[in-house]
Amino acid sequence: MEEMKGVAPVAIAGIIIVLVVVAVGAWYIMQPTEEAGEEEEEEEEEEELARLIIYHFWTAAGEVEAIDAVLTGFATEVPEVEILQSPIAGGGGQVMQATLMSLLAAGQNPDTFQVMTGPGNIEAYSEYLAPIDDLWEEVGEYFPEGIKGLCTYEGHQYLIPINFHTVNDLWYNVDVLEDAGVDPDSIDTMEDFYDACEEIKDAGYIPLSIGSGQGQDFWLTLMFDVMLGGVEHGGAGYVNTLWTGEATPSDDDAIEEVLTIFKTLLDSGYVNSDFATLTWDQASAYVADGTAAFHLMGDWALGYFKGVGMTAEEDFDFIPWPGTKNLLYGHGDGFCLVDGAPHPETTMEWLEYLASVDAETLFNPIKGSLPPRTDAPITDAYSPIQKKLLSKSTDPETTVLGTPWTTTSPVYLSVMGKMMGAFVTHLDIDQGIEEYADGYAECF
């Protein structure tokens, strides 16, 4: 006890010292980082080092090569730039979003990062981005109005788009359909599709392959949204009302029609029984290896099929989802300028380059997407399937629609994904409509 008494004042002094140190440290850390950032910038300018700190979520086969090609192109154009790229895999960018939110909140700004086009997606980052209206003044005339709209939030442009992906593509294995005696071009309506499924099932194949497992329920949402365009009470007009938050899903027949399609497909055994355990590419693999016939997926599946050694049109091909012949659903990716970017000049050079025909022509053939610029040439680097999609996109009869991924906030994917994930387990239409309406109320 004697010793304890000796220690007590020392302990109190120690506590005070540590408290002071911690308080000063905390105060220092909480200070806005602008000053520190400026100092760093000055130092770097002295060293004449131009850098570009870039984050994106392209990590799969086809994606890596595509972004590398563009970055190499940029490095050739502006050779003195050192590019620091940080690809972050996972969840359609959801993992990168979590990482970026922490970095941005902590003031550790990158220069630029990948953002899916659409006001909702820009909104998630809005406080951290700087508008690039001036650049759009220069390049705006080369992009369609619709694309410009997808890069705009509250009247300002924040993104330069690099690609456009279509999603209402029903991919199929050519050999499987031949073996089952199904002519894909004869499938126009859902009835045709059900008939085809029956024939394919009788021939011993899985008619439709789905992969919505391991947290990827959102593919069900994507299918749901595509189907909305094709059902009797759906279509482009309805979809536009729905995704601007002006619909009342609990009364709308279109929602019921789509849920019924899911129910029919699952109840009739047209879908692989393990769909709730597979990722989208594992579901594509069923089509690739001839286990399944169809797979409804965005055109990034093209990159997958090519990647596993299949030849477009010979081994695999696509038809639009029944009822969406005149629709082109899609979304794209763009890059932004971070407000308080450590290297704003380099970043502007990067965005200017990204808006060029060169960058789009390097990127899109590899990625499997379409170039957003109207004057981008259709070179032989594009696959025949991309050419088909491109000619469709310029067809005056085609209505181009942004997917809800582009019009709504990131909440949509998570909420509606989980809603559909639950629906396919109970398949109760009335309960499904109710759950959809609840989810809809949360998203809009």
Binding site: V7, G14, A98, Q214, S273, D274, G421
Partner: protein, 290 residues
């Protein structure tokens, strides 16, 4: 040491203050954030009182996730304790190669959850997984289950993977507990002609209270913050059938950017932990006191 109280004190204080800031400070921050409408921008959001807490009672998903967490807790704790006790008792019987078996039981614990999640995902795969393939191979195909593809089984799959991973730990603790039973008791029981089962039933097992508390505490603390296995094995699905609170917290916070609501779910987990741990702690402390 007595000569250098300042050095000793500063080391102790520095450590404890770090933990106060990093643990209690962050808990405090979480509680503060749970009263705000925060979307992850800035350090904290706008004060909205009990709004996030009121939302607990209207959020159907949270309700399901809450019960899932408790279900997983019961299945996991029950399964692990039972298997641990049985394995430890068998080891205690003096099986040949018991030392090697103890090592083998512990190996699962040393495997990364990412690896075990991938392995279990392959095993549970309904179409090509080894469990269903084996069943079909020996003409027991009718026993094949949809496993992770079904809402009624996905949570059980997660529990099985966790029980597999942690029962070695429980075995080890129980084995130590069984070894510490005084030999005289066993000998006197043997003289009275007790069978092996009677020895366990009346002497060994009733004396495992302390070991059980140790096992339960560790497992409880662990299972309330599970993440890796369900996230990678089932992603919380199908639907919300295998979603547990930490997964939902992450989903709400980082996918939907409701940081405030996510913080309130953090508080919920905190409350559950305290509610479950207090009785156990109380019992331990009372015992020590007496």
């Amino acid at each position: 040491m007595q000569k250098r109280p300042i050095i000793l004190a500063s080391f102790l204080l520095f450590g404890s203050f770090l933990s106060i800031i990093l643990i209690y400070g962050m808990v405090g921050w979480d509680v503060a954030a749970s009263f705000t409408k925060w979307t992850g921008k800035g350090l904290i959001g706008e004060f909205i009182g009990f709004g996030n807490y009121a939302r607990w009672f209207t959020d159907g998903a949270l309700n399901e996730v809450f019960w899932n967490t408790l279900k997983l807790l019961v299945i996991f704790l029950g399964g692990t304790v039972l298997i641990g006790l049985v394995c430890a008792s068998l080891l205690n019987l003096g099986i040949k190669g018991g030392g090697a078996l103890r090592m083998i039981y512990l190996i699962p614990l040393s495997i990364s959850f990412v690896v075990s999640a991938a392995a279990w995902a392959w095993m549970f795969q309904p179409q090509h997984g080894i469990i269903n393939s084996l069943l079909r191979g020996v003409n027991l195909g009718f026993l094949a289950q949809p496993w992770t593809a079904s809402t009624s089984q996905s949570l059980i799959c997660v529990a099985i993977a966790y029980i597999w991973q942690f029962s070695g730990f429980a075995t080890l603790i129980y084995y130590t507990g069984l070894r510490s039973v005084p030999q005289e008791l066993i000998e006197s029981a043997e003289i009275s002609g007790a069978s092996t089962f009677q020895k366990y039933r009346h002497i060994y097992w009733p004396m495992q209270g302390t070991a059980t508390i140790s096992v339960l505490m560790v497992l409880l603390i662990y299972i309330l913050r599970v993440f890796a296995l369900p996230w990678l094995l089932t992603g919380g699905g199908p639907g919300f059938s295998s979603e547990v609170l930490p997964l939902y917290l992450y989903r709400v916070t980082f996918h939907r950017l409701y940081f405030g609501y996510g913080a309130s779910i953090g508080v919920l987990i905190f409350i559950i932990s305290i509610a479950l741990a207090l009785p156990i702690l109380y019992r331990t402390l009372v015992r020590r006191g007496s």
